[in-house]
């Protein structure tokens, strides 16, 4: 009989039994026909009926039937102890769900392959860590100029295809067709070979080709992303030939990219791809197409078949130097040549794309993954303990079953089935929980106003992961109780009933697991405390400016026709500053190139009488006259900028104290002249140091120049106000639109919020580690409570005797509390050294404190002692309330 028919027979159980009966009935008939006595014939068959179990077992797949029976039995028995089941399921769902959610994000950020052809053959020149525009001679091996790319494409012998990608996404506004209202769009500029190198075909129309990129300004064509086609173009089937007005140029849409394609940077989602040949047309109108030293591109290549990464690296480095030396339009300094000779371009596999998101998140994500894995381990030990207790309580039932002939394997299987049901249900709940949680997580880690475009949905990898941990969980917490429960001395157990407990050696395993829980919880609580204290230290950092009561927003004049070098831009800023400053509730307002935690414009400066210090990159900021008043940055000496500083007057600058100290000769720098970006500037004031990029960085050397003397897009607008934020925000936006109705305004928020966003990572880590630390403590609490309740009920008899012999209630309470104290102390004794050893792993993620932080360890020890006390109180009280008479009759 085939396996399938036996499996089938499981579900036809009744039919199989009927068939056996029918066959035997026909047998009796024959016997009677052959002249046997009917009664005798039936009696003879009695033995057959007794064998029906055997006959049945042969005709059906026993293990499967057993599984179904076990399942039904397991579900029934779990429904009987609802509280236990609920706690077990909840901790499993949270444990598995948290693991799945964090893993989904980890998968999306770190692991997932780009949805392109053979992504593992793609290589990136450099490390992809820098982005922006550099003009160094050879100092940057991540960014390249367009002419360099073209030379490299021509000369290299290791890549089948190469492509260039502008390292920044142009976050601008454009117009669809003849619309009057602008829409935001993320424009990605790419070389024409981009799509063919990746092996990505258009879903509608065509992708860009090398021909679209071969002469500057001549190819106003665009490919739009599938998501943007749906969102902004209403999924128009006749999208080909529709136009986009970006800057002053009309682009024609020639294709729509496939839905799964999001470009090559994880966590970015370009809406529109245009060729680099159109660079000058796209705001803010960079000119880099023909400039040998305007380095803003990433270069990627697809390895030729058979070429290894080492061979490719060798070829790339030869070409890197050769091509740079071939650019003779800039005379390199001795320093430039030394840098070029020592430069090495590493190749980075591009299979999972480039991502700054990855640099930012890979460490916190791995840390969180570790934390949730520990939480899951605690949940598992908890459930193991609960099941162990239950199995021990069922020892008599299991012994009876074994005595009646149940096979040991069968009982192990039943207990394992029960834990499998538990963990599969927990896993299913965990997935449901994870789907919500991963989206919440994504919103939590998105530092901008918009959610980072990442697909954190369930995929095969994630599902396999979850299924894996679910089954591992079942095995982890199901096996031990199952084998323990069947390794009973039958006779002993049957005789003993639930009588005496021999000393403290029993439940050793369960105790060990509680000790483990306490130790793990300690680690997690210390971690939570460290990250929380680190976050508090960060938010208490003196930024040098007053982050309260400042509104900030961005305007985008570049998208609506303002050119960067026009005096009209300066008038626009001045007009807006003047009108907004006059609003009620507004104290000061100013444009600036940067405020806090944004990009930067930096470089070395030269101070007469001092050697050029190349190690100090001065951060330049371009500001309005009201900037210091708005930010409340103190001037230490000299003056702020005023109406006297105009495009034609003496070029001036204000420098930070740090810059004064590190780059200027002793004595006050006010009144001295230095060279910055090719222009001599007179120092007119010294400002207090401020944090510019991050709260945890040292104060940079900063200098400020007035925008009147350097025309460009200064899109940050800050307003110091008092009163209601929303009222002021409305008034400010109306005022800006009264100056120019078409100006796009984005990201209206407070400076406080901007500062808070800059520590998103640290905040998320602190929040989640507190949440999971709390969860771990809660689970341990349940673990201790469950074990002690069980031990107390097991020892009711003994306690009764002790009390009958005169033990006081307090003695009995101490009896129970002592056991807990021992377990908690052991847990702490193990946990503290583990914490101290593990602390080294996170020390660089902490700010303003050491990983061996006595406060955090003291807090954690205190929390766990408290937990032991709380969890032990109820079992101890119950023990002390035992009535000796009842206890002695308990048997």
């Amino acid at each position: 009989m085939s396996l399938w028919s036996r499996i089938g027979n499981v579900f036809r159980g009744d039919k199989v039994n009927r068939e056996i009966a029918e066959e035997l009935e026909s047998h009796v008939e024959e016997a009677i026909a052959a002249g046997r006595d009917p009664q005798e014939a039936r009696r003879a068959l009695g033995s057959v009926m007794r064998q029906r179990e055997t006959s049945h077992a042969i005709r059906v797949a026993g293990w499967l039937e057993g599984f179904l029976q076990d399942t039904a039995y397991g579900v029934r028995s779990m429904l009987r102890s609802k509280a236990l089941t609920a706690v077990a399921l909840l901790s499993l769902a949270l444990g598995i769900g948290a693991n799945t959610a964090i893993f989904s994000l980890l998968d999306a950020v770190l692991l997932r392959m780009l949805p392109v052809k053979e992504p593992q053959r793609l290589m990136l020149l450099g490390k992809g860590e820098d982005n922006g525009i550099s003009d160094s001679y050879a100092g940057d091996t991540d960014l390249y100029s367009y002419p360099f790319y073209r030379e490299f494409q021509k000369q290299n012998s290791v890549f089948a295809d190469t492509a260039a990608i502008v390292s920044m996404l142009n976050d601008i506004h454009g117009f669809i067709g003849n619309d009057n209202a602008s829409v935001p769009m993320n424009v990605q500029m790419i070389s024409g070979t981009y799509f063919s190198t990746l092996g990505v075909e258009a879903q509608i129309g065509r992708v860009l080709t090398d021909a679209d990129d071969n002469s500057e300004g001549d190819h106003p064509v665009a490919v739009v992303s599938n998501a943007w086609w749906k969102r902004a173009l209403g999924k128009d089937p006749a999208v080909l030939g529709r136009t986009l007005k970006i800057g002053d140029t009309i682009f024609t849409i020639v294709g729509v990219a496939p839905a799964e394609f999001f470009g090559t940077a994880v966590g970015q989602a370009p809406d529109v791809w245009v060729p680099t040949a159109m660079m000058k047309s796209i705001p803010p109108h960079w000119e880099g197409y023909k400039d040998n030293f305007a380095e803003s591109l990433y270069i990627i290549g697809r390895l030729k078949p058979g070429v290894t990464q080492e061979e490719a690296t060798a070829n790339v480095n030869v070409l890197f130097k050769q091509i740079r030396r071939g650019f003779t339009d800039r005379k390199p300094t001795q320093r430039d040549l030394t840098i070029l000779n020592n430069a090495h371009v590493p190749l980075t596999p591009m299979a999972t794309g480039v991502s700054r998101l990855r640099q930012q998140f890979s460490e916190p994500l791995k840390l969180l993954m570790g934390i949730v894995a520990l939480v899951l381990l605690i949940a598992c030990t908890n459930i193991a303990n609960l099941l162990l207790a239950r199995a021990t309580a069922r020892a008599r039932e299991l012994a009876v079953r074994q005595a009646l002939g149940a096979q040991r394997g069968r009982i192990v299987r039943q207990l394992l089935t029960e834990s499998l049901i538990l963990s599969l249900t927990g896993g299913a709940l965990g997935i449901a929980f994870a789907m919500g949680a991963s989206r919440l997580l994504l919103r939590m880690v998105s530092s901008g106003p918009e959610v980072t475009p990442l697909n954190v949905g369930l995929n095969t990898t994630v599902l396999l992961f979850t299924f894996g941990i679910t089954v591992a969980t079942a095995l982890l917490f199901g096996t031990i109780p199952a084998f323990r429960a069947t390794r009973v001395e039958l006779v002993e157990t049957l005789k003993e009933g639930r009588g005496m407990v021999k000393g403290g050696t029993k439940n050793l395993l369960a105790r060990a697991m509680v000790v483990l829980q306490v130790a793990l919880s300690l680690v997690l609580v210390v971690g939570a405390s460290l990250f929380l204290r680190s976050l508090i230290n960060l938010t208490n950092v003196d930024t040098g400016f007053n982050r309260e009561n400042v509104l900030r927003l961005n305007i985008d004049p570049s998208s609506v026709g303002y050119k960067g070098d026009e005096p009209r831009l300066t008038s626009l800023y001045q007009e807006i500053e003047a009108r907004v400053s006059a609003l009620p509730g507004v104290h000061a307002a100013s444009f600036s190139a940067f405020v806090f935690h944004e990009g930067s414009w930096n470089g070395s400066v030269s101070v007469p009488g001092m050697p050029v210090n190349y190690d100090v990159d001065v951060r330049h900021n371009v500001i309005g006259n009201g900037f210091f008043a708005t930010m409340q940055i103190q001037l230490v000496s000299g003056r702020a900028f005023g109406p006297q500083d105009t495009a034609t007057s003496q070029k001036v600058a204000i420098i930070s104290e740090r810059m004064a100290k590190t780059l200027f000769p002793p004595g006050s720098p006010v009144g001295k002249v230095y060279n910055m970006g090719g222009a001599d500037r007179l120092v007119v004031g010294i400002a207090k140091d401020v944090r510019s990029a991050d709260l945890d960085e040292q104060d940079d050397a900063v200098d400020y120049v007035p925008y009147t003397q350097r025309e460009d897009y200064e899109s940050d607008f800050s307003v110091r106000y008092s009163g209601d934020f929303h009222g002021v925000a409305d008034a400010v936006q109306k005022t800006i639109h009264s100056v120019d109705r078409s100006l796009p305004i984005t990201d209206v928020t407070t400076l406080d919020e901007v500062v808070a966003r800059s520590v998103t990572n640290q905040r998320v880590v602190a929040q989640l580690s507190i949440f999971f630390g709390g969860l771990a403590v809660f689970l341990s609490c349940i673990g201790i409570y469950g074990l002690m309740s069980y031990i107390v009920s097991q020892r009711t008899n003994e306690i009764g005797i002790r009390m009958a012999l005169g033990a006081a209630q307090s003695n009995v309470r101490w009896l129970v509390m002592r056991e807990i104290a021992v377990m908690v102390f052991f847990g702490i004794a193990i946990g503290v050294p583990v914490t101290l050893a593990g602390g080294r792993l996170v020390t660089h993620m902490l700010f303003g404190l050491q990983d061996k932080d006595p406060v955090s360890i003291a807090v954690a020890v205190g929390v766990l002692l408290l937990v032991g006390l709380v969890a032990g109180y109820f079992p101890a009280r119950r023990a002390s309330k035992v009535d000796p008479m009842v206890a002695l009759r308990y048997e």
Binding site: S26, H27, E30, A34, A44, S47, I58, R59
Partner: protein
């Protein structure tokens, strides 16, 4: 009718069933039982309690296959016949039996 209680069939029931089915295919359980009694001149008797589990076991092992047929009285009967694997098994069992009985006979003679 010899009333010998024959647990001696233990171990050789399979052989007998296979042999009978090889000579007379398509028998139902009762007919197999009757044939064993008949051919052994009532010396051997297969109990129902051993026969049917043995039949199911051999069916599971793939040595015999079963099929339901209609009897004249309209009831159904389950009849059995040998499979190719069963024929092979029969050969094996027969030679095993021969070897054992020769060996036992030798012991009985020499002892």
């Amino acid at each position: 009718m010899a009333k010998t209680k024959t647990d001696s069939l233990q171990g050789s029931l399979d052989l007998l069933v296979l042999k009978i089915l090889s000579r007379r295919p398509r028998l139902h359980g009762y007919a197999i039982m009757a044939a064993i009694a008949d051919l052994s001149e009532e010396e051997l008797r297969a109990e129902e309690g051993s026969l049917y589990p043995a039949l199911y076991r051999m069916e599971e092992a793939g040595w015999i296959r079963a099929e339901w047929i209609k009897k004249e009285n309209g009831r159904r009967a389950r009849i059995y016949e040998l499979t190719t694997a069963g024929k092979k098994q029969l050969g094996a069992e027969e030679s095993r039996w021969q070897a054992i009985s020769t060996a036992i006979n030798r012991v009985l003679r020499e002892a």
